[in-house]
């Protein structure tokens, strides 16, 4: 029978589900069955049930990593005790292994939370996960991702936190858990995103449960970045750009898009990718058939790659990124992403100014007399980028600013859409070459910048805009409020605040 089954698998992988374990193998299941979160000092009762275990041998328990402890261990239950003091959120896995057959086991993943940190995700500017080359000013975090409705989970680090895009995107090559792909008419559904026309990410759409700190996004679509093997990537996706199909090209194990929208195709409340929307399907979602090719398609909003925050049952209206001051350069910079705005004691807007954003999710930056109407705040841009209206010197060896000493002390004014929010920003621009060469092992740089567009800027039209990248986030709390959600006592979303 096994052999017959194997033959079928080679014919059609979809038959795999029918070729599972035989009826004599013990099966371990746990209660609770889904990932849990616990505060410091708390305890959790875990029960194991083993089917096909005629001599009722039960299970043996293990804890990894050894953070907290297991007590009252017996073949059917255990108590997990979280440490009395937890200073930063951690993830542990408790595994129950059948005593009758050590090949059968079931895991339970527990997020152990520091006090008041159930909505706080640590992030770190640390150079990223690729050993051969530092990722400067990249804010990285770790996500816990699980097969929907199960405790089959995996922690993946080196994920870039990006307020300039939406959706979780992971390199398929790093995945060890079998996430469920989304299909349409029997074809695979694939997602494409472009990064300002130079780099694109292609990959299948799959459903997953995403856990961040003590928050849960259940059954959200994510993109699994990988090149197809049995059809070509459509040129309307690739557009001649660089295929960021590996960590070595992209610089991260994935991307966590936590921008102003609930899905990667929503804009100003409209969603042209939605099934039934009028007009052509944009080059965002494609249905593909092996050996035949792909066509742009539309699909229900619930199947689109989603901002995990918007899918949380609470703290789902936005986020706050916070970093300490870092000056010229630091080896690493540790910050936080706090979920929700005005929903918990730790995420109040306080004295921050709200800047409304336009239907295209931009605001206006007035810089050196020019109205740059397509300007934006973006943690995924690793420098400030703005048009060279003031005549800064460019580096001889790259597309960045290299003003001679002293550094340039500059100022701009941000103006929200519909006159909601206005305020000046002072910023400094150092020589990119000097700062990076003087601090070759550092990964966080406060004063680096590059050009964007070609002045004169015709009052912000064309390729002129101010891109407030990661240096803007240092020494600030930056709020991103999500479109179609509400923030108590504040203007209609989406908006930014700082």
């Amino acid at each position: 029978m096994r052999r017959f089954c194997f033959t079928l698998v080679t014919i059609n992988l979809l038959w795999l589900a029918g070729c599972g374990t035989t009826s004599t193998t013990p099966m371990v299941s746990l209660s609770p069955g889904l990932p849990q979160s616990l505060e410091q000092g708390a305890a959790l009762d875990i029960k194991a049930t083993v089917s096909n275990d005629p001599s009722n041998k039960g299970v043996t328990w293990s804890l990894n990593p050894s953070f907290g402890s297991l007590s009252n261990q017996n073949p059917t239950s255990v108590i997990y005790q979280a440490p009395d003091t937890v200073t930063s959120n951690s993830v542990v896995t408790i595994t129950a292994t059948s005593l009758a057959n050590s090949g059968e086991a079931a895991p339970l993943v527990i997020s152990v939370l520091a006090p008041g940190q159930q909505n706080v995700q640590p992030i770190s500017v640390n150079g990223g996960p690729v050993p051969s080359r530092l990722y400067i000013n990249g804010p990285f975090t770790t996500v816990l991702i699980c097969v929907s409705g199960t405790s089959q989970c995996q922690s993946i680090d080196g994920i870039l936190v990006d307020t300039g895009s939406v959706g979780l995107r992971l390199f398929k090559s790093t995945l060890t858990v079998p996430l469920q792909p989304i299909t349409q008419s029997g074809g695979s559904v694939n997602n494409c995103i472009s990064f300002v026309g130079q780099q694109f990410l292609w990959g299948e759409v799959a459903s997953a449960d995403v856990y961040l700190a003590g928050e849960t996004a259940s059954g959200v679509s994510v993109q699994l970045i990988a090149d197809p093997t049995s059809f070509a990537i459509p040129t309307s996706c690739s557009n001649g750009d660089l295929d960021a199909d590996s960590q070595e090209v992209f610089g991260a194990n994935g991307l966590l898009g936590v921008g102003d929208e609930p899905t990667d195709c929503t804009l100003s409340g409209a969603n042209p990718c939605n099934l039934g929307s009028t007009g052509a399907a944009p080059p965002a979602y494609f249905v593909c058939f092996d050996g035949e090719g792909c066509a742009a398609t539309q699909l229900p909003i619930t199947q689109q790659v989603m901002n995990p925050i918007a899918a949380f049952p609470r703290d789902n209206n936005g986020n706050i990124l916070q970093f300490p001051p870092i000056g010229t350069a630091m080896a690493t910079a540790n910050g936080t992403m706090t979920f929700g705005i005005n929903t918990e004691p730790n995420n109040n807007l306080g004295t921050a100014t709200v800047f409304a954003i336009s239907a295209q999710n931009n605001f206006t930056t007035v810089f050196s007399g020019q109205q740059l109407t397509n300007s934006f705040i973006d943690s995924g841009s690793n420098m400030l980028f703005f048009p060279n209206i003031t005549g800064l010197q460019l580096c001889s060896d790259g597309p960045f600013y290299c003003p001679a000493n002293p550094p340039a002390a500059l100022s701009a004014t941000n103006e929200g859409a519909n006159n909601v929010g206005s305020g000046p920003v002072d910023f400094q621009v150092d020589s990119f070459d000097s700062d990076t060469q003087d601090n070759p092992t550092d990964t966080a740089f406060g004063y680096i910048a590059g050009p964007n567009g070609t002045p004169p800027c015709q009052n912000g039209k064309g390729a002129c805009s101010f891109d407030w990248g990661l240096p803007f986030f240092y020494n600030r709390s930056v709020f991103t409020a999500i479109d179609l959600q509400t923030v108590a006592n504040e203007p209609k979303t989406p908006w930014w605040a700082y």
Binding site: G138, V166, S185, Q199, G240, P282, N374, Q458
Partner: protein, 164 residues
């Protein structure tokens, strides 16, 4: 052993029909147009105009053909008095099909963009310059913009900053 369950399968004909219908839907709603360096075809332009997808604006020393691609992107073609497209600019929720709009310049653009972007990590706006192609792009998810023009084709009296 349980008997393997059978998932719905689709015949090659079904797949062909699905793809074909989607391709046709896509093709019908993306207006055909001239590409950079090419000539504007007036018949094509008239058809687009009738569909409301095209606006033609006389800018004095040149003409702007503004093409709306469905709801999500607008492309502007800058056409010389001799009928040659000397510049293309776009803005919208998605990047338009650059192969279509850059035409014979697409290969040069692609080679330059790939070389440029593979030098360091991080997302940033792009600016490329060859003797016969200037290319700039920027923005973020949901709001992309860019422009490309051939400096050798830009008519006299037209400033390069007018192409946007």
């Amino acid at each position: 052993m349980r008997s393997p369950f059978v998932l719905p399968t689709f015949s090659a004909e079904t797949r062909f029909v699905v793809l074909h219908v989607l391709f046709v839907m896509f093709a019908l709603s993306v207006p055909a147009s001239a590409s950079l360096g090419g000539r504007v075809d007036s018949v094509e332009g008239d058809t687009l105009h009738a569909n409301g997808n095209l606006r033609i604006k006389d800018a004095g020393h040149y003409t702007i053909y503004e093409i709306k691609i469905s709801t999500w992107t607008t492309v502007r073609e800058f056409v010389s008095p001799a009928g040659v497209v000397f510049g293309v600019a776009w803005e919208g929720q998605f990047v338009p099909d650059l192969k279509q709009f850059l035409g014979t310049y697409f290969r040069d653009y692609s080679a330059m963009a790939q070389a440029e972007k593979s030098t360091s990590f991080g997302r940033r706006p792009l600016r490329l310059r060859l003797p016969s192609l200037m290319f700039e792009t920027g923005g973020h998810m949901g709001s992309y913009y860019g422009r490309a023009y051939d400096p050798e084709l830009v008519p006299e009296k037209v400033g390069e900053q007018e192409i946007y």
